[in-house]
């Protein structure tokens, strides 16, 4: 018992030093030298100021921007406190949320997209993402918003569609995962293009 206790105390110290400090320090040193952009959070700067990360959604409400998927974090799109919505498959709260979100999308998009109905809204546009900061929307949801953005910015629809295509992250190696459109990168590309 005593022998095991002595060995345990020594092992706790050795493990903590080697695995708790040595290993992460080694990985950090490597990361900071070899891959600093990724290692520091894939931050995006514009005019010398950090405007966000390509791996985190942020709140877009203005009509001139593409909008993100809903988020369950508080406040929405909070990369310092991610969370699921945890709304079950039969949850009345989920039913209400889907309804409210769909109504809001129809109200916003219909002026530019007459004849739009709830059946045209892709599911990802009305339900919260897993992280609450999913940086992507489905290609379908991007196309749904394209007419509005083009109209508000006085850009040809084809130009906006081309930007969507360029900011789509495809399947890795052609078969892994699902394609999506990175909203922050797309909006940055739009701003770069100008338009009002």
């Amino acid at each position: 018992m005593l022998r095991a206790a002595l060995a345990s105390v020594v092992a706790v110290v050795v493990c903590t030093v080697v695995l708790g400090f040595g290993y992460p320090a080694l990985m950090t040193a490597f990361a900071q030298v070899a891959l600093p952009q990724q290692a520091n959070g894939s931050l995006i700067e514009r005019n010398g100021r950090v405007v966000g990360s390509s791996l985190a959604a942020q709140s877009f409400t203005w009509p001139r921007y593409f909008h993100e998927r809903p988020s369950a974090t508080s406040p929405a799109y909070n990369p310092a406190f991610t969370t699921f919505s945890n709304l079950g498959p039969t949850s009345p709260a989920l039913r209400k949320l889907v309804h409210t979100n769909a109504e809001a999308i129809l109200r916003l998009e219909r002026p530019y997209n007459p004849g739009l109905t709830i059946h045209d809204i892709p599911v990802d546009a009305v339900v919260p993402s897993g992280s609450g900061i999913d940086p992507e929307i489905s290609i379908a949801y991007a196309h749904l918003q394209a007419r509005r953005v083009a109209a508000v910015r006085h850009l040809p629809l084809a130009t906006v569609e081309e930007l969507i295509r360029r900011n789509t992250w495809g399947r890795t190696l052609g078969f892994l995962g699902e394609p999506g459109v990175n909203v922050l990168e797309l909006n940055l590309a739009l701003d770069k293009l100008g338009g009002t």
Binding site: S8, G20, N40, T83, T117, V123, F175, L176, G177
Partner: protein, 562 residues
């Protein structure tokens, strides 16, 4: 569905192709007589306890004392983090009940999380506290599995099972650490942060403020996956892009979940010189895994009741993955999330890349049943192997009764003592899960943790205690932390770890002392399809039937609702 199915098949092929050589390597690690220079130094530093060939009791004592010592250290660290260094965001001490539960959760290889990592834990706590346990608890599991296997393989000449400290050293240095370094490097290249800088303040395109949490993430995520730990840096775990940024990172993390657990079955076959028998076990594990995916994937693609009735477009097209996208990420879609949920509960990992609470009734029942089977398909790093052995012994015993002979397994007679231990090992944990669920569902203090109304709330509770009892750690995350639920969980965590662990060691010790009986014409063969089907039946009947009544109160009722 076709594209998703293709991905799942590729995953399965790569898994088999990699787990096989790794299993051979692991067998070599634990059977090698010679120790390297560092190991000799480590052993000398630890003193007499590390030099002897330990009996199962001595081995178990070392494990228990070591776990107690590390628990005390970790609890102290979490409570004192506010006064310590590497805390750039000035986070205060972790509240006592959460600290207690978290300590139990990480030292038992569970990683149930009653807290939001990025908002609760300092870098010091994440890195030098929790991530250390992700190595150590996995190392302990592997060490114990190696010891149990040595007992089974022993052919005369003492009853020793090896030495815990040496096995721990080898598990970490020769298996867990090299793989973690490799995976961390790839994850960083995909965008997982690895930095000691604190939060970043960003000004969004619309001029709002956004705080981005980062830290030494990659070094933790790699071992979290490889060591069947599951506890992430961020609250939403591997759904968060900073933990899992691309489909490639997702593929590799999913691979890491099942890699060592499947490899340890191969290792078992090599160490006990019964490769065909091990392949039968491998096939049984694989069959349960495949069955889970083939239920979870279509269920999630079909969508939840609310979404199907809402009128929005949930069809799978080239432009969207459709289906039940609630609490799922675009880049993973339905197939990768369903595959992950199945894999993470077939073993004791418990990390998630989407919210299980929002799964469809059938989709959510898959992880629940997986955990209830004791996660022996193939189970946690180390712990899954001795968990599987309990069921193998029960299957051998039942087969023995059928043919009317004393059961034998790998040349040793299986008698009353081994059967009692196997029954305790296999049944104690599911029993505890049901009892604790009952306690939590009939007390007001327990009901305070429930988020969703009705049958789904019952499922949340059942899931919480099943997950903690089985040391899985995945969650229907709506189930909230109270002092009551955290303390009840702590009990589940420690007992869930040590009941099977000590029962496994005792079986190893008991078999080590037995004489070898040569196989005869009447010996029931354990290396063919008949035994595989037998084992599947035993797993289904023992644990499966225990959970069926509870399932009818939760997911089944829910599935019948509109």
């Amino acid at each position: 569905m076709g594209q998703g199915t293709a991905q799942i098949l590729v995953y399965a092929v790569v898994l088999v192709a990699l787990s096989y050589p790794l299993g051979i390597w692991m067998a070599r690690v634990y059977t090698r007589e010679k120790s390297d220079v560092v190991e000799r130094g480590f052993v000398r530093l630890l003193g007499r306890d590390a030099t002897t060939d330990q009996s199962w009791k001595q081995y178990g004592l070392s494990v228990v004392v070591f776990t107690v010592a590390f628990s005390a250290f970790l609890y102290g660290l979490l409570r004192l983090q506010g006064h310590l260094f590497l805390n750039p965001d000035h986070l205060p001490a972790v509240p006592w009940a959460v600290a207690l539960n978290t300590t139990a959760s990480f030292v038992t290889n569970t990683n149930w999380q009653y807290y939001a990592g990025e908002a609760t834990m300092s870098y010091l706590s994440q890195m030098a506290g929790l991530a250390v346990q992700q190595f150590v608890s996995a190392g302990v599991g592997l060490a114990v599995a190696a010891a149990v296997i040595r007992g089974i393989a022993r052919r005369g000449g003492g009853v020793g099972l090896g030495n815990f400290w040496r096995d721990l050293y080898r598990s970490i240095v020769y298996i867990l650490l090299p793989l973690s370094i490799l995976l961390a490097v790839v994850l960083i290249s995909q965008g997982v942060p690895q930095t000691f800088h604190g939060h970043v303040a960003a000004t969004t395109l619309q001029g709002a403020h956004q705080t981005i949490a980062r830290g030494p993430v990659a070094s933790m995520i790699s071992i979290k996956q490889l060591g069947t730990n599951g506890g992430g840096f961020y609250d939403s775990n591997s759904a968060v892009p900073f933990e899992n940024p691309t489909p490639l990172s997702n593929f590799l993390e999913m691979l890491s979940i099942l890699l060592i657990p499947f490899a340890q079955v191969v290792m078992f076959g090599r160490m006990v010189l019964a490769r065909r028998h091990a392949w039968v076990l491998y096939a049984v594990c694989f069959a349960i895994f495949a069955a889970g995916v083939s239920i979870a994937f279509p269920s999630e693609q079909h969508g939840s009741q609310v979404l199907r009735n809402s009128g929005v477009d949930i069809t799978h097209t080239a432009q969207q993955s459709g289906g039940n996208m609630t609490d799922k990420e675009i880049r993973f879609g339905i197939a990768d999330t369903a595959l992950w949920a199945t894999a993470t509960t077939d073993v004791s990992n418990g990390s998630v890349n989407g919210g299980h609470d929002a799964f469809t009734p059938a989709g959510g029942a898959v992880p629940l049943v997986n955990m209830f089977l004791g996660e022996v398909e193939p189970g946690g790093v180390g712990s899954g192997l001795y968990g599987l052995i309990f069921y193998v012994l029960i299957a051998v015993f039942v087969a023995g009764l059928m043919v009317g002979r004393t059961p034998e397994w790998l040349g040793k007679k299986i008698e009353a003592r081994e059967m009692k231990l196997a029954a305790v090992g296999a049944l104690a944990v599911p029993t505890m899960a049901l009892v604790l669920t009952a306690v939590a569902i009939v007390t007001p203090a327990g009901l305070a943790s429930v988020l969703n109304p009705g049958a789904h709330g019952f499922t949340e509770t059942l899931y919480a205690y099943t997950s903690q009892s089985n040391n899985n750690g995945s969650a229907f995350a709506g189930y909230g932390a109270t002092n009551f639920s955290a303390t009840l969980g702590t009990v589940a965590l420690y007992f869930g770890r040590f009941f099977p662990l000590l029962a496994g060691l005792a079986i190893g010790g008991s078999l080590a002392a037995k004489k070898v009986v040569p196989a005869s014409a009447g010996t029931f063969r354990t290396d063919g399809a008949t035994f595989g089907i037998m084992l599947l039946g035993v797993i289904g009947l023992t644990a499966g039937l225990m959970i069926l009544p509870a399932l009818t109160l939760g997911p089944i009722v829910e599935g019948l609702m509109h």
